[in-house]
């Protein structure tokens, strides 16, 4: 049965976003004043679990420890420094207006809300824009080597969806440098005894007791043992679920498991169908391929996107004269040109390839050409800006982008959807907070470039340290211990799932199922969707899940370092989560940002929103394995911006 998503009966009182009253620019200030404080001497009595050590997790763990809270911090890798934030290339936005080009907090706010196609909360986004400037200040004080100009001041560059230059960067390794800054702060707190670090641990279950999040069950990935940890609050900063598509730009271990376990424990999952497909990635080249590699969007500052005008043109790029090239983004969007937002750039690349104007061996690629920029600025200047990216491209493809245009194609990159949180970043489970990519809060239906680093660090350094105090000071906690019924049940559930995976003893490998699932979702729940395809995909995913539990083979044993078993658990969750994505895509009968339903488009083939019926956050509640998830909605109200048809022409 389909949920009636337009009725107001679906509005759930649990979905109170707790947006502070008052004018937009004063909300955060007022809220900080209204939040209850925890007496400094009492902070040591409140234990906090932080799962994840990326930008959001590491910054949260370090900042909370600085305040005096004892923190337990968990990561799946061998070291917190490996978290996938490390791979972010291009930069981090802030409304500093150092370029004197008309930027302001309000403009960053507006660009982000518009870029998200008006499907994010105004108050959250405004706060994000306000905090953006503090992030840059703090990161410089940590010794992050941002790019500078000859006067010694910080340099900026432009990113998609903005007409000002507000992106701070450290060559093509901004994420690495920011993460190592947060990691340094975290290591300082480990040395000081305020943070206890648990590496090579995977969160298997969230423990909810008396309606509050009180701990987690983790699997020690070296020994296979289940371990239990209590706390007064649990913070998830476990990243996005892009790997549900099998091929994505995410790291191999990125997964939905922690968030999905929280969903199954009662946290609502918001907008799961909002997946960002990034326009500039190295194209797919074979079935053995394990992941896709992003080429930073900053390349679109100097690179020009084109395809041959004639469909099926097989000539080498250098043999195609200027007059027979179609610089389609520049032609179609004269004011933003190659710097249109990611969803628009991706969809246009797909359209060109659908018209058989794609290039390269697979014909699923477009050119990104630096010839003009090299002619204008010289090879040295281009190498200075993008050297490491060009080198990476050459390593992977064996082609030299200084001499021949890069070939790029869209790939799954980021997930705007995530666990639903209120203004305090708390989920529908009291005491469970969700930060960074793992929550849904700030990017609406499309994230602008250089905004993920901003959000992760804003959440971790500057939001959670305040809002968690408000929760802890206002709650009364019963005693809990790892031997309680709730913990025993959670351990039992986790152990049984592992046993079940080991016992199937079928014939197909985990990777085989994962690849198949990814293919279904890419074809039917990717850059373009429609009801027919989604309905078909829903059945296919359900069948695949059934086959998985009958025919998967997991080698080795459970009480050991067993990477096949780790993957099997993650893929099992992806197989359930994939269906939730499809349900969400089916329910949102409009197009917005990344969610392009072919039945809803403008005459120019742009996304056509339906603000009357779909100006809301879709939040899904788990209702049991045999039942469809329950739909709830949080209406979005816009008091400070006018909802317009997004135009980048």
């Amino acid at each position: 049965m389909k949920p009636d998503v337009t009725s107001d009966l679906t509005i759930d009182p649990k979905l109170d976003a707790k947006i502070p009253a008052g004018p937009l620019a004063e909300k955060w200030d007022r809220h900080r004043f209204d939040i209850k404080l925890v007496n400094p001497a009492n902070k040591k009595k409140f234990e906090i679990i932080v799962v994840g050590t990326g930008l959001a997790g590491a910054s949260a763990a370090a900042s909370l420890a600085e305040l005096g809270y004892p923190v337990k911090n968990f990561c799946i890798q061998d070291s917190p420094r490996r978290a996938h934030s490390i791979a972010a290339q291009g930069g981090i936005n802030a409304a500093k207006n150092y370029a004197n080009d008309g930027d302001s907090i309000r403009r960053l706010f507006y660009d982000t809300v518009k870029g998200g196609d008006f499907r994010a909360r105004e108050a959250n986004v405004y706060r994000l824009a306000q905090l953006s400037n503090h992030i840059i200040d703090h990161c410089v004080s940590q010794g992050i080597p941002f790019a500078r100009d000859y006067g010694g001041f910080l340099d900026n560059r432009s990113f998609g969806g903005a007409q000002v230059s507000r992106t701070f960067y450290a060559k093509g390794q901004t994420g690495q440098q920011l993460l190592l800054g947060a990691y340094g702060a975290l290591m300082r707190q480990v040395a000081g005894g305020m943070v206890t670090l648990f590496q090579r641990r995977e969160m298997m279950e969230l423990v909810v007791e008396d309606g509050r999040a009180r701990g987690i069950v983790t699997r020690n990935l070296i020994t296979g043992e289940m371990e239990t940890h209590t706390a007064h609050a649990v913070v998830l900063a476990t990243g996005g679920y892009g790997n549900v598509f099998y091929l994505s730009t995410n790291a191999m271990a990125s997964n939905v498991t922690a968030a999905f376990r929280a969903y199954k424990s009662g946290a609502y999952f918001a907008n799961p169908c909002f997946t960002q497909i990034h326009p500039t990635c190295i194209p797919v080249h074979g079935t053995f391929q394990s992941k896709l590699t992003l080429m930073s969007e900053s390349l679109r500052n100097d690179g020009r996107v084109w395809v041959p005008k004639k469909p099926g043109d097989n000539r080498k790029p250098k043999d195609i004269p200027e007059s027979e090239r179609d610089y389609y983004l520049e032609a179609k969007y004269p004011s933003f040109g190659n710097l249109v937002p990611r969803d628009v750039a991706s969809r246009n690349a797909k359209d060109q390839c659908d018209m058989d104007k794609g290039v390269g061996e697979t014909r699923l690629a477009v050119y990104l050409d630096f010839a003009d920029a090299i002619k204008r600025h010289g090879e040295g200047a281009i190498a200075g800006k993008y050297g490491n990216l060009f080198q990476m491209y050459e390593k992977i493809t064996g082609e030299n982008p200084y001499q021949t245009p890069m070939m790029i194609y869209p790939a799954v990159h980021y997930t705007m959807g995530g666990l639903w949180v209120d203004y305090n970043l708390m989920s529908t489970i009291p005491g469970l907070f969700v930060l960074g990519e793992a929550n849904f809060s700030d990017h609406g239906a499309n994230r602008l470039g250089a905004s993920a680093l901003m959000q992760g660090l804003a959440d971790g350094y500057f939001v959670i340290p305040y809002t968690i105090g408000g929760y802890l000071a206002g709650a009364s906690f019963g005693k809990t211990h790892t031997g309680s019924e709730a913990f025993k049940t959670a351990v039992n559930v986790a152990e049984q799932r592992v046993q079940k995976l080991m016992q199937v003893n079928g014939r197909r490998t985990v990777a085989d199922f994962h690849r198949t699932l990814g293919g279904i979702l890419w074809d039917h729940c990717g850059m373009a969707r429609n009801e027919e395809g989604l309905t078909k995909a829903k059945g296919m995913v359900a069948n695949l899940r059934k086959e998985f539990w009958e025919d998967v083979y997991v080698p080795g044993n459970a009480a050991d370092f067993n990477q096949s078993l780790e993957n099997a658990g993650r893929v099992a969750d992806f197989l359930e989560f994939g269906e939730l994505m499809i349900d969400d895509a089916l329910a949102r009968r409009e197009s917005c940002g990344c969610h392009f339903n072919t039945a809803f488009q403008t005459e120019d083939n742009e996304a056509l929103r339906d603000d009357e019926n779909f100006c809301h956050v879709a939040a899904w509640e788990y209702a049991g394995d045999e039942r469809s998830p329950l739909f709830h909605k949080e209406p979005l109200t816009f008091e400070n911006v006018a909802l317009t048809q997004r135009s980048y022409k």
Binding site: I86, V190, A251, G286, Q289
Partner: protein, 251 residues
């Protein structure tokens, strides 16, 4: 036109968890596309091992784009293989020939005990950073970012060692299993920047002491670390650390 696929013989270090010593075992890697990365080649081998109901080869990896520092193995005697400035995940099979035999071993160092097969425990590197590889600043009161101009040359020079990915190849390459390049990189980055100066003396002393405690060897200027560093970090950073170390001693 050369063939697009190659066949290889692998001699891979296999060591179960808790086993004091492992052994090289031979297996075949068939129909390997030259466009694959080295890790994708291991994926293919592992798929086959799994189908044959044998245990796949355990190996660390994550981002597969050369930045997380999680992957790494000694390939034919060289950490991350023979290509310069390349992590194992960015080493492509087009650099190998049909019929090659490839020997794959874990990082070998007293401070990096083997967990299983090619997976080692590198938490010693985290412990070195805990000894002072940061600037002690709490979240909150930082001044405006542009209130402290830093000459471009200085900022660029600090960026070079900051590119370290903490993979541990320098330790694996060194005959003494020294972590001097790793420590030198962090010490250099922070001592070059004005923000890092207040703690410079304390930092270098504490990090070097910790490195010694953890069982890493000393530097005897073999420069193997520089040759194998996937990020091209030079022993200049070790020299700068040594200068900082002496300054700290005599000040």
């Amino acid at each position: 036109m050369t063939a697009k696929t190659i066949n290889l013989t692998l001699k891979v270090w296999r060591q179960g968890r808790g086993e004091p010593i492992g052994r090289l075992e031979t297996c075949r890697a068939e129909n390997i596309s030259k466009d694959m990365s080295f890790l994708e080649m291991i994926d293919v081998v592992n798929e086959q091992l799994t189908k044959d109901h044998q245990e796949p080869i355990a190996f660390d990896h994550d981002c597969r784009e050369g930045i997380c520092g999680m992957c790494g193995a000694v390939v034919n005697g060289r950490p991350h293989g023979h290509e310069r400035e390349t992590t194992l995940c960015q080493l492509h099979m087009r650099h190998f020939s049909d019929g090659d035999t490839i020997v794959i071993e874990p990082w070998r160092a007293r401070a990096f005990p083997v967990i299983k097969d090619l997976v080692v425990d590198r938490s010693a590197l985290d412990q070195i950073i805990q000894a002072g590889g940061y600037i002690s600043v709490n979240t909150g009161g930082a001044p405006d970012a542009n209130s402290l101009p830093i000459p471009k040359d200085t900022a660029d020079a600090a960026f070079v060692p900051a590119a370290c990915i903490g993979c541990g190849a320098c330790v694996a390459a060194c005959p003494n299993a020294s972590a001097m390049l790793f420590v030198g990189a962090k010490v250099s980055q922070l001592s070059l920047l004005p923000q890092g100066r207040p703690e410079a003396a304390k930092r270098v002393s504490s990090m070097v002491r910790k490195m010694d405690e953890l069982g890493f060897g000393n530097c005897s200027n073999e420069t193997e670390c520089e040759a194998e560093c996937p990020k091209g970090i030079s022993i200049i950073q070790i020299a700068r650390m040594n200068r900082e170390f002496f300054k700290a001693r005599f000040s």
